[in-house]
Subunit: 321 residues, 2 copies
């Protein structure tokens, strides 16, 4: 009997496209939605070309605490570039950045943040920037877990991306993070190719270097792909309204509103970080990934809110049983 | 014998993916290129994901003379909107536009052009704009041929788009035309979905109208997708360097330079308008679709230049034998 039971369980596991999700309401909502939009003859059937699914990145597909990973990248870049900038030792925000003094960096406000972005995300070609990001993601480690950042993606969300693609969906990232920063690694980690990654964008200029065309990254930001910028980014890049959207913070609220404003069946989901032991627990009071107004709207409109602690069996791929 | 010959010809035609192209150098270059990048084991083999092909639209996929079709659209919109704007009867560029006085419109220069764009391409939602474009392309007729504009696409280029897609390429439009203007009809006419149409873009704002989210088109232009703006648009939208590019004017020069700057096999093509009888003949002196510097560079670098008169059997789909 035991042998037959183990066999039956293995069969069930093989058939379950979302094995890292407990059988809670979120998993049920997702599966019901996918079933009704992909069943020929269903009143909610959606043609494959219109099966557009959009995902926030920070806090939705990977960990964003204690601060966005791209900030750690910028700080590491300041350290790497500092030998060419002796003046940084005495000028903010670089002085604090070099000292690892996060409070000092934060005290320089938006002006300081923009200077850090300009120093680490501009003044080089797109190829050189991609090379630096690739090097960083393969070596830098998260301060709490000591894992490389690309191992701090959420196993249940990887399964969800696969499950949607297996059902004819086209999966996109729509994130406030730097578009070029994400594109350097999203294909190998999430299976999402560069042309399906929408992020905040800086100005590019076309130049000839020794007769060879290059694109130079400029410090001017042309799209902040967050809050109301997300529907704008979606319209510019995709030109279709998604039918499925997942986020985790108030920065995703307008994306979820936009997605659910279309006709027919629509899915809106939020990852609620409720797991202080295995990941982090935060929502309304957090400065990073604030989830306040969107949580209220989710309650009022019946959006799916994933209780990470109770609904996810596994957080990170390496912890899989 | 005649029966057998006809049968053999029919078989050959069925096997020829580019039946509207004469057996000239351009057809040969295209077929050789596609063969070498798609043959497993070839030193020039390219993985399907990297088979990105980009096409200019005006003058490359459809007729752009005597002036870009989108200008006719704008003039028709001025006429349609004029009852709500009595002041247009006495103010330029609207006065000339309403009188059909193209020289008068041209005399108002860039300022006039921007005012026309603002009046006809902004101040409405993206949905409303798409509805207007769809209505226009289904009814408006070209001044010379009296055909609707979507019948003035080039049959040989339609075949080329199909041929590339059949060989695993992803086909994109990269045009100076309005992105929203093109997306309203490119899927049904070219088989190119909205997410593969890159064009000039205006600012969008996310707003709530009676509680429902909309995107409002603003008069401010955020990307002029022409000349050096084309490689910028390609990088922002695709994030990969194309291996195949087709244009017809100096506005495409940087796109062709960018495409051919990558490693491995690359294809750069220009449509040369040499057919005054069946279409138009123009190049260096034309104000619309000027082909001057890019023609020199094509000669110097061995880019493929299509002699429309001698290399295309058919221009428009309706003229097909």
């Amino acid at each position: 009997m035991l042998g037959a039971l183990a066999w039956a369980q293995a069969c069930l596991a093989a058939q379950d496209p979302l094995p890292s999700w407990n059988d809670g309401p979120s998993k049920q909502h997702i599966e019901e939605f996918v079933k009704k939009v992909t069943t020929q003859g269903s009143p909610d059937f959606v043609e494959p070309a219109e099966r557009i699914a959009v995902f926030d990145n920070d806090g939705t597909l990977w960990t964003e605490q204690p601060v966005y990973s791209e900030v750690f990248f910028a700080l590491d870049q300041v350290r790497a570039l500092s030998p060419q900038h002796p003046e940084w030792k005495t000028t903010e925000p670089f002085k604090s950045a070099l000292a690892g003094d996060m409070k000092g960096v934060a005290a320089t406000g938006e002006k300081g943040a923009l200077e850090l972005v300009a120093a680490t995300h501009a003044g080089m070609t797109t190829d050189e920037f991609a090379r630096r990001v690739k090097q960083w993601v393969s070596t830098a480690r998260h301060p709490k877990t000591k894992r490389v950042y690309t191992e701090m993606v959420y196993q249940p969300m990887l399964e969800l991306l696969h499950y949607l693609r297996d059902n004819g969906f086209k999966t996109y990232i729509v994130s406030g993070g730097g578009q070029d920063f994400m594109r350097a690694w999203t294909e190998s980690v999430y299976g999402i190719p560069p042309e399906q990654v929408i992020g905040s964008e800086s100005e590019l200029t076309f130049e000839l270097q020794d007769g060879k065309p290059v694109l130079m990254k400029q410090p001017k930001v042309v799209l902040v792909d967050d809050h109301a910028g997300k529907p704008v980014g979606i319209e510019r890049f995709i030109g279709r309204k998604p039918i499925f959207a997942f986020g985790n913070s108030d920065g995703d609220q307008q994306m979820l509103e936009w997605t659910t404003s279309g006709d027919g069946a629509r899915f809106a989901g939020l990852v609620h970080h409720t797991d202080a032991d295995r990941e982090y627990a935060y929502d309304r009071q957090s400065k990073v990934g604030t989830l306040d107004k969107a949580l209220d709207e989710a309650g009022a409109k019946g959006w799916t809110v994933v209780d990470m602690k109770n609904e996810w069996k596994t957080i990170y791929p390496a912890d899989k049983q």
